[in-house]
């Protein structure tokens, strides 16, 4: 079973993502802030992490850098999912080590397809 970690402080958004990934047979882990992400990563190694950027305690960029800095999570795919839509935000996300950047609001159908494609892609 593949595992996905969803990090977002908006419960209503988490609700929809949780449903979508469950439907594809994922085990879904949920974090509502940076601290919870770090906590979960101590025991779990997800295949995919979906990161919001604006969270209450820590922004997604630094979380992403933290994950990439550890050898433990080399094979983990990271995707940003953010309402920030500026070109600089996207570049910054990818520069910090993410594999993809998706914008809110999203189409459930395309988002899932792209997430699955990302998982099939070999590690760069």
């Amino acid at each position: 079973m593949r595992k996905v970690l969803i990090a977002d402080d908006e419960p209503n958004i988490v609700l929809s993502l949780e449903f979508l990934f469950r439907k594809q047979g994922f085990t879904v882990l949920i974090a509502r802030n940076g601290a919870e992400v770090r906590e979960i990563l101590k025991t779990e190694t997800p295949d995919l992490i979906v990161l919001d950027i604006m969270m209450p305690d820590e922004d997604g960029y630094s979380l992403c850098r933290f994950i990439r800095s550890s050898a433990l999570y080399q094979g983990v795919k990271i995707a940003f999912l953010s309402a920030k839509s500026k070109e600089t935000d996207i570049r910054k996300g990818l520069d910090n080590g993410a594999d993809a950047y998706f914008m809110k609001p999203f189409s459930t159908r395309t988002l899932l397809t792209k997430m699955l494609e990302l998982l099939e892609k070999p590690q760069s």
Partner: protein
Amino acid sequence: MVEAGWGIALALGYWVLLFVLALRVERKGKAQWLRSPYVYALSLAVYCSAWTFYGSIGRASSFGLSYLPVYLGPTIGAMLFPLLLRRMILLCKHYQIGSLADLLSSRYGKSVAVGSVVTLISLIGIVPYISLQLKAVSESFGLLMLESPFETATKPVFEDTAFYVALVLLAFTWLFGTRRGNMLEGNPGLVSAVVVDSAIKLLAFLIVGIAVTFWLYEGPGDILQQASARLDLRQLFDFSSTIRRDDWIWISFLSMGALFVLPRQFQVAVIENTQVAHVDKALWLFPLYLLLINLFVTPLTLAGIDHFGGNNFSSDYFILELPMSAGYSGVVLLVFLGGFAAATGMVIVETTALGNMAANNLVLPLLLKAGWPGSERDHNLSRWALNIRRLAIGFIIIAAYLYYRNISHWSSLVSIGLISFVSVIQFLPTLIGGLFWKQASRKGALAGMLAGFAIWTYTLILPSLASRGIIDAQWIETGPWNLTWLKPDALFGLEGYSTITHSVIWSLFWNCLCFVGFSLFSGQSIEERNQAKLFVDVQDYLQQQINPNEWQGNAYTADVRNLLHNFMGVAQAEQALKGFAKKHALDLEANPIADPRLLAFAERLLAGTLGSASARILLQSVAREEEFGLTEIMGILKESQQVIALNKELLKKSTELRKTRDELSIINQRLQKQDEVRNDFLSTVTHEIRTPITSIRALSEILFDNPDLEEADRQQYLQVIVRDTERLSRLITQVLDLERYDSGRQKLTLSRTYWSDIIEDCRASLKGLQEGKHVTLEVMISANLPPLIADTDKIIQLLINLLGNALKFVPENSGVIKLKVFLQQDFFEIRVEDNGPGIEPEYQQLIFEKFYQTVNQGLKKPIGSGLGLAICQRIVQLHGGKLFVESEPGQGACFCFTLPVLETVIVQ
């Protein structure tokens, strides 16, 4: 008697020669041969008067080598030419100075008093000296006639040669010493005569010396041998006596100083100088002349002693008597001519110089001050000045003659000469101080000169008057009132010096003391300070300014005026010219030829704006017809004037532009700042809007794509969609609200309401929330509150917002919120207190900013947009109140606002 006849003929012939020569020189204009350093040096030799010619030998026969200091002093003095004389010449040429009195008066603030004092001392000191020359001429003539000097002196006036000599010299001086109004132009005729005089007297002295030494005797050794047989020469030429050594030093010093302050020396060395560079050659030529003329003094003296004995009454005339007794008629006549020439040169120059001083520094200032000659002065002033000079010269020569007739035969040539020297030496401290010491003041100069002159009178003149029985001689011996320290020949107990040395020491001592003392402690007027600077720093001024003499007569006043008009503008130029004309008492309209001062003034004016070089060129174009024509220059000026005007315009414009640019840049910065704020706001708003839209869209799609969803999930998803839609619309409303407040479009609808009603409305709105969280709400309203006049809906919105925030943060079940309303002076104060976590001090301002939500709100986002407090603040501000927070972390928070108590309702 044959020689006497020849003598008269020779003298007359010589005079005719001088007249013709001087006339030719004057007619031809400045003769070229006069502009030579050798001529200049010969003219300086006017120093050697008849006193020298005859007196040296007289003095040598009485006091041995003591005649020498009178020549040694000037020889040393010549070494100071580059330092002193050069400066004096520069000053006189530059500042239009015509005499020593003029120089000193000008230096000390153009002081009439200084000029008068110098003139008076000169007259009193020098007139006997002039009479001395008359005496020498008439006595030498008497010798030719084989008279004793006593016979000569007692002849009736009309048989007295001196009388006729005086008349001829007066005529000569009138003719050649007062030709020009402007003294600075010099008197070439006079100089030519002086130069011939100097040449003749040197020639005569050399020839008589050679004749006596080598014809009469067989060389200097022979003379020495013969004379020493008759007299103990060692006694005469002994240097060992201290008295004599001191005399040597002091008399050398006296003569050295006199070289610079004797009026005749000043006349030839400074006023008649044609070229400053001549000073450098005179530096050795003049001492050479002195050496040559003294070469045969000792042999002639010894020969005289050998022939006539040591204590001869008329040892002054050994030079004449020696060739006479030897029968050398030609030589006798030549010597007579030499002495005659020496006297002539001295008298004409000295009286010219004294005449200038007397007229310009004594008589004219007094006349002008007395308001005479009235309104005609402008036109006739220079004629007046000339006539006064002539008159003064007449008086001086008559005075000298009278002095000669009545007094001078009592003393020898040398002593009168030295007494004169001591009188003029009183100018020396004032002169040197004036040239090199800026602080030297008018009062110092006057005090110094008068003190020196007083000592001179007391130590030299009174005793000589007493010795002639003119005043009581008793006090000379004992001192006045028997005070020996006041004895005129041993003042303050100073004894053991000759009377001359004694007088020099004390007069100069008191002179210097008073001069320096008064200068240091009396201060200077502005005029004095200016003049002091001009004189002491003359080199600097010469480099910067032009010599006004150079701008002489060639320019037309109209041209200068036109030039100034064109450059400075008519009004300004006219104003400047008016001031100038007034200052110098000139009528610019009257004289078509520009006054040199006007040119200098115009140059200074132009130099102020154009730079000195350009100003000079411009003025040259007017004054001298240079390559540039006047019209071209005017063209250039007009053009540059336009350019200047244009530039001024441009400068003004560019200043305005720069100001505008600066203002724009400030506005731009403000706009950029506002833009940044707006961008931040927009991106935040966008983010805040996108969040509910995201969940609405995602959940809608899920509902749509999954018809087989369980009913519970479907219900949950729909509920979220509805709530997020509400949140979205609330957000949009608030953003629009805020925008209305910020743009000033939000208006208040005032009405009269009671606080109890408002609070009731709020309670009703929040009831559900409050009860769900089990929070206690306590309301405390002061009794008898006046009704509130405000926009009731806005106040309710505000209160709900604050109470809602409080509800959000208070703990569940134990939460307590207190609402207090009371009067505080003219304001209602409303406090919303909670027992929540409180707010850290650093956030107490930030929470009122848009979209700011405190970080310690907890992980779950409270319901709210982050715009609530920002809107609250605007509502309060629009009502004229203040919203603020008081909180200590852990102690809860209290949001307070004030609202004014209004009396009337403005119905809109």
